[in-house]
Symmetry: C2
Subunit: 131 residues, 2 copies
DNA sequence: TTAAATATGTTATATTATTACACAGCGTTA
DNA sequence: TAACGCTGTGTAATAATATAACATATTTAA
């Protein structure tokens, strides 16, 4: 169990919104949606997003500048993430595959650098878009 | 051999600059550098970057919004890319590992989605920064 | 040699993200 | 309890990244 109870007001509002969406949300679309809850400025959104990413509640889809809720018991606090992205409808799914994460967590190349984090984005066409 | 000879003037100028840099360059820093060569507007830079990415001469480091030259004979035209990124000095190296690329190119999860492209970014501390 | 495709140049604007500053609440500890 | 550190909030301004729209030029290929 993670410590969920410590989320602040803004963090809760924004996590709630992202969790209710089945697709990635962009920061300014989040801002638009939470204005009715009294969150008025980009920075308020970005601060909450930063924190939520840090604790693994959400992930940033880097190639899309958008945020999704973690579907994967908070992904070792966002240290090991993988997504599949449909290039047609922009549907994004978090990939949850133990073999893959094991493989990547243990990956070491000749540089001798030891990685403590990775992010992987797969692109293709989803079932629907493949026709 | 790829068809390099077909690069346009702006594309050549910008590829040349990126190839001479050992680290990722950002679009507006490229713009600043190529002003003396008569490239004056962001769009001119972004258009060249788009094309160079498309043909696999350069890659975009998504988590950094920056561009590096391909060190890897143009990575199947940018369809399969992996990088290691030092979170301290921001040094970026293209990972060239046949087993890894084979593994990821063949990866398929239960979604049934077949991927035609991926991008992987590893994060950690490089040798120097590990002290 | 015309038409399509690709590239250029320019202006304006949209989108994404951060800096800087003031202050509030809460738990620790001196 | 007072002082402090830490985390979060609110607000304004601005920086950094990227694209739209339009006009024109150049290259390629039928
Ligand atoms: Zn996750
Ligand atoms: Zn799709
Ligand atoms: Zn490459
Ligand atoms: Zn380093």
């Amino acid at each position: 169990m993670q410590k969920q109870e410590t989320l602040s007001k803004n963090q809760k509002i924004i996590l709630d919104l992202i969790e209710k969406s089945d697709q990635p949300l962009k920061a300014y679309s989040i801002l638009f949606d939470v204005k009715k809850k009294g969150i008025n400025a980009p920075l308020q959104v970005y601060r909450a997003l930063d924190k939520l990413v840090e604790i693994g509640k959400i992930h940033k889809i880097e190639s899309r500048n958008a945020f999704v809720a973690c579907k994967n018991s908070n992904c070792q606090v966002s240290k090991a993430t993988a997504f599949s992205i449909c290039e047609s409808c922009e549907d994004v799914t978090e990939v949850s595959n133990l073999k893959l994460s094991k493989y990547l967590n243990n990956f070491a190349d000749k540089s001798g650098m030891k990685y403590n984090k990775y992010n992987l984005e797969f692109f293709g066409l989803c079932k629907n878009c493949k026709k």
